[in-house]
């Protein structure tokens, strides 16, 4: 039993040594997993002599639940657009006034007066993207700028489709497909939505996240998924093409916010200002492969991103895109019911 005792003792020693590194110059970032450029963090640490800790989450709801419970110790969190108003309403965010910071002039006008944070009193753009269509052109050569790719799939694609396992993104596209408005509670539209999804699901292969692996490899031939991932797939396999559903597709944007109970508010503000610098914003994008909202960052991007058709929406489809907003509770309850029905 001695080896076990030694193991316990050494484990305890390690436990004691880990943890509790809250020096004066520190910053705790709570962000989506695999989303924060290590280079960006290193640069910030060196410039301001601040020790940065990054912790991951994998869904908006997890992040919200954790921060709401308290005692989390985070300073910065990066919620999606539709969640920012919830965070504000629940009184979790600090009104940090990034719009008065020196680098705010670099923010693209398009992203200043956004519906979830008019005038940007709370949040700074991190990255944005959209959910669209990716198709292997060798398998299907028809029109791919439509949600019909996954809702009424052409026979070449049946059984080879992957759909993002995201309730809101899928319902958004389907509601738009029937001409409804997002957050509608119109029973007639919703009935069509449910019936269509129930009918379409057997024609899908999966609802999974592994698109950058399986779309280029040929396991999937059509996907409804995030543009950054489809761009990565195309870089691995040039047969992949990107389509913008003309019936309507959702934009997303994740924004950097400071928590009301943050312990390192000054460092957090420094970080906000820091990422509005074009060169730094480019670091974010080149790591995670989505567009940022900062003017002048393009010239610092790797060449394959500058010209990527997935990252710049053509004018003709601009109107079809819309931000996913947070629906009223009674509506989102309806949506959950539909989703459960579809996945039973």
């Amino acid at each position: 039993m001695n080896w076990k005792l030694t193991a316990v003792a050494s484990a305890m020693a390690i436990v004691a040594s880990v943890g509790g590194a809250s020096a004066a110059g520190s910053l705790n970032i709570y962000n989506w997993g695999d989303y924060t450029s290590p280079e960006l963090i290193k640069k910030f640490e060196q410039k301001y002599d601040v020790k940065v800790t990054v912790t991951d989450y994998d869904s908006n709801d997890t992040a919200l639940a954790k921060v709401r419970a308290g005692g989390h110790g985070f300073d910065i969190v990066v919620p999606s657009a539709n969640y920012v108003p919830i965070w504000v309403k629940e009184g979790l965010l600090l009104e940090a006034r990034p719009d008065q910071m020196s680098n705010f002039k670099n923010v693209d006008e398009r992203w200043v007066n956004v519906p979830w944070d008019p005038g940007r009193h709370y949040s700074v753009p991190w990255q944005w993207g959209l959910t669209g269509i990716g198709v292997n052109k060798k398998v299907y050569g028809g029109d791919i700028n439509t949600s019909a790719i996954f809702l009424d799939p052409p026979k070449e694609l049946v059984g080879k489709i992957n759909v993002a396992p995201e309730m809101n993104d899928v319902l958004f596209a389907t509601i738009k497909y029937f001409g409804g408005n997002w957050c509608t509670s119109d029973k007639e539209v919703l009935k069509k939505v449910r019936d269509k999804l129930v009918e379409a699901k057997p024609k899908w292969l999966a609802m999974d996240y592994s698109v950058t692996e399986k779309l280029p490899a040929g396991d999937y031939a059509g996907v409804y998924y995030w543009n950054g991932a489809i761009m990565r797939s195309r870089l691995k396999n040039p047969d992949i093409a990107f389509g913008y559903p003309k019936e309507g597709f959702p934009f997303f944007m994740d924004s950097v916010t400071i928590l009301k109970d943050a312990k390192n508010v000054e460092n957090a503000k420094l970080f906000m200002n820091f990422i509005m610098e074009p060169e730094n914003a480019a670091l974010i994008s080149s790591f995670a492969k989505y567009a940022n909202g900062i003017k002048g960052s393009a010239e610092f991007l790797p060449p394959e991103m500058k010209t990527a058709p997935e990252l710049s929406v053509p004018a003709q489809f601009e109107k079809a895109g819309e931000f996913l907003t947070a629906c009223p509770p009674e509506v989102s309850q309806l949506y959950t019911r539909i989703w459960t029905d579809v996945n039973k």
């Binding site: 039993m1 080896w3 076990k4 193991a7 316990v8 484990a11 305890m12 390690i14 436990v15 880990v18 943890g19 509790g20 590194a21 705790n28 709570y30 989506w32 997993g33 695999d34 989303y35 290590p38 800790t53 990054v54 912790t55 991951d56 989450y57 994998d58 997890t62 639940a65 954790k66 419970a69 308290g70 005692g71 989390h72 110790g73 985070f74 996240y209 592994s210 950058t212 692996e213 399986k214 280029p216 490899a217 396991d219 991932a229 990565r232 691995k236 995670a288």
Partner: protein, 267 residues
């Protein structure tokens, strides 16, 4: 005399099934290790031999910290859980039924039955309060939570071992005036050893696997390997994780070898 050559221990086909089981257990692991040496960034398409991903893993301090943290938590939680479970198993077996026995049994196994997300959400709420009161936000919370759900995994094999274990030896030792602690150390514990090892190993791997509870209980900078990977799952998983897994496996093989030699010396 035909009986003498006949091995009573062997059962027809059991060896074959056991072999098959080991193949099943190791096949995915072999592919996993093989792809750690993949030159391309794919988990499925072979792009030639390379040590690239080991280099990546060696440079990525976030993932190393996470792997290390997982190991520390698993070792601590499994050790505490095994000790507590052994004591509890001794207290709940080989006894005439007494009041509260069934209750204890159900109670100890309860963590098995609570869906992970429920424990996770509830612990989040409870621990958050404690974190605010005490100001302590170290690994202790994760270890406590892991210990709790490890207990039934350690308890059940140990109990299965104890059940029906002959008490005569212990009674004989006690009759020879061995103090209870000596009886336990010299008689009960060695007899229990296979159960304890099985229980400890189970608890250890169960703790290494946990995602949901860790995700909710962890404080800042406390990502474990599974929660780190959960974050990666949405985007892209590269053979870097295979390289880390391969390193873990190498470590475990070294441990097994040491263990083997220690054991050999004893007998």
């Amino acid at each position: 005399m035909a009986r003498a050559r006949f091995d009573v221990r062997s059962q027809p086909g059991f060896g074959t099934i056991a072999l098959f089981t080991f193949v099943v257990l190791y096949l995915p692991i072999i592919t996993l290790v093989a792809y750690a040496f993949n030159a391309s960034e794919s988990l499925t398409a072979w792009g030639g031999f390379s040590l690239h991903w080991f280099g990546e893993a060696a440079r990525n301090t976030a993932v190393q910290d996470a792997a290390w943290r997982s190991l520390v938590i698993a070792l601590s939680a499994a050790s505490v859980a095994t000790v507590a479970a052994t004591m509890a198993a001794i207290a709940t077996t080989r006894t005439a039924p007494y009041r509260g026995l069934g209750f204890k049994y159900a109670f100890i196994n309860l963590p098995l039955m609570v869906p992970e997300i429920v424990t996770a959400v509830a612990l989040l709420i409870v621990f958050a309060r404690v974190k605010v009161w005490t100001g302590y936000s170290g690994l202790g919370y994760l270890i406590l939570a892991h210990t709790a759900f490890c207990i039934p995994f350690a308890y059940l094999p140990i109990r299965a071992r104890l059940e029906g274990m002959d008490e005569a030896l212990e009674r004989a030792a006690a009759d020879l005036y061995a103090p209870p602690w000596q009886v336990f150390r010299r008689v009960t514990l060695p007899l229990l050893r296979p159960g304890i090892i099985a229980g400890f190993m189970l608890a250890f791997v169960i703790s290494l696997d946990d995602v949901v509870i860790s995700e909710f209980v962890k404080s800042g900078g406390q990502d474990t390997l599974p929660t780190y990977m959960l974050g990666q799952m949405r985007r892209e998983i590269t053979p870097e994780v295979n390289a880390i897994a391969a390193a873990f496996l190498a470590l475990s093989v070294v441990l097994v070898t040491i263990f083997f030699f220690i054991n050999r010396k004893k007998t």
